[in-house]
């Protein structure tokens, strides 16, 4: 695992796909937020965060992810996570991220999930 978190991204239609690699702490969270907001500004409606190369998230990282989630919800968009370790999955559920963001096992499922029309 990298010492500092690296974030890469790609746009697929109105979904922005973000990959993280490393520790999601203050620095990692800021990287994610910067990349996410940039895609939202450019019209992305939904975000998918693939965390398969991340094994640690701290509370600062979680609070930033919550800010990103709020920003997406303000815009009536959707956010989904995939590739979570069991520990991070449980962390997100306890910390309330899973209440508004959806968690999927695979990236394809996540993309399909946020692309599906909401009822």
């Amino acid at each position: 695992m990298s010492e500092s978190c690296k974030v890469s991204s790609e746009r697929r239609g109105d979904v922005a796909l973000l990959w993280t690699d490393g520790y999601i702490n203050n620095q990692g969270g800021e990287e994610i937020a910067r990349e996410a907001y940039s895609h939202l500004e450019q019209g992305a409606r939904a975000l998918v965060l693939n965390l398969e190369k991340t094994r640690i998230v701290n509370s600062i990282g979680i609070s930033i992810l919550i800010e990103v989630l709020e920003r997406v919800m303000d815009r009536k968009g959707a956010l989904a996570f995939c590739g979570l370790t069991p520990t991070i999955d449980k962390t997100f559920r306890i910390m309330g991220l899973a209440q508004y963001a959806r968690i999927y096992t695979s990236q394809d499922e996540a993309i399909r999930g946020v692309s599906a029309p909401t009822a």
Partner: protein, 548 residues
Amino acid sequence: MTVPAPISPATRTVDLWKRVGAVLGGEGPLPVRVAEAALLVTGARDATLYLRERDAWIRTGENLAEGAAPEEVPEPLPPGVFRREGDLWIPLEAEGELHGMLRILDAPPAELPENSAMLAFLLGSLVGAHRLSRQVREAEFELKARLLELESLYDLGLSLGGQLDLSALADEVLFRSISLTDAGKGTLILFEESAAVLLARSVGGEVLAAEDAAGWALPEGGVINNAAAAGPTAGMQLGTCEKCLAVAISVPGRRLGVLAVADKESRDGRVLDFSATDARLLSLFANQAAGAIETARLHKDAIEKERFERELELAAAIQRELLPHDLPVVPGLEIAARNVPTRQVGGDYFDFFPLSQGRLGFIVADVSGKGVPAALLVSTVHAAVHLQIDEAKTVADLIGRIDRHLQRYAATRKFLTCFFGLLEPDTGQLRYVSAGHNPALLRHRSGEIEQVRATGVPLGMFPNSTWKEESLVIAPGDLLCVYSDGITEALDASDEEFGLDRLGLLLGAGSPSEICGNVFDAVRAFAAEVPQYDDQTLMLLRRADRVG
């Protein structure tokens, strides 16, 4: 042409507040909506909202909140709405508490808009409610974080309980420790029993160097050093970090490792002090880790022991193949021999070599040490004797050749004693070399017992050694007894040895095969329940009585 009816001020006011309501209830971050509503009411072109956060002003906008520059918000604040350098400042208060300041940039210099008071009240209430809501959410977040700590301790216990891979176990403990203390970096080091480093892991950077960790003296409960940048922690200089927290991973009587985290993060980028709560949490992790690490280590030891025993069994099987399956049949000779290893793999070896002209070669050897190394040497001796016996001119020459073979090829630096004899059954002529071996016993028909002593040093001990070859005659009815010290040095409960005398007394009655059985029975009865640590080998050769 119809003249439109004039719009009344009341209608305009209602319309304005409807539009304000639509903006405030719309999408986007609240600070942006507040600023837009203010622009609607004041007719100005730009506005900024400052929120009071922990005694500091935060400028809010579309992107992440930013700290306001010094003196950006004029303090001390005049009471109520005021003007400053062309901007209109509106305090946003609710229930007597100031929540924020709305700054209308380049507001028209005319009198204050008539709706300012209403605007201030409305936005103040909204920002206050927003702030309260955020405080509730922060409190809820803190509560969830504590719940996460408890769940993590529970999960760690479950997960470590079944984790026997030390490396995965170390990762699990380190990741959770860093995560739950909000540390920027962390290091976990585990020691061998010898205090050498068994494993070292770091995330985010090295808090302490593995080679330094063994020197750390950590009290129970760990050490918090919130001035680590300024000086050593627990007597040791750390890597590059500002603040650190370190705890020992230990079980009663032994330190297993060190767990250290450093540089607790905050949302605004500051490095926070570690607290006693952090130290308690890390200590709990370390305690759980210690139990699991000890279990994993015991499991690893058990696996290694099992593997070692499998190797021993294999070596024993190989060694059994080295011993003769059948005794040679030599006219005029009665022969018996038996080997009882005390462990799976012993260090004793015996063999027979039927040679030309009816001669019989035989060897009894005792290798120093036990287990696989001894078995390897036995195997080397076996190979050497079989390779050299046809080439050697004399017994002494054969022993010399075997010794040189061992000096050159033996994988382990061990030595062996041996008795090698070359017997002509027709004449009873025995030529022999005893390389440091226990005295063989020659029991004459008369009952007299003669000791056949060593003629040189053990094999493999000194380079360029030589051995003297001796000879004797085994008369008809005489019995030659060659044995390893596992027979004569077998101990009873009072540490008394079985000894040569007891062995000698047993040589008189019965055939060699019966004597062999009697000797082993007697040794077993003598030792009773006392465990024996040396292999036992016995070889008996009796020259048949002359007929008539």
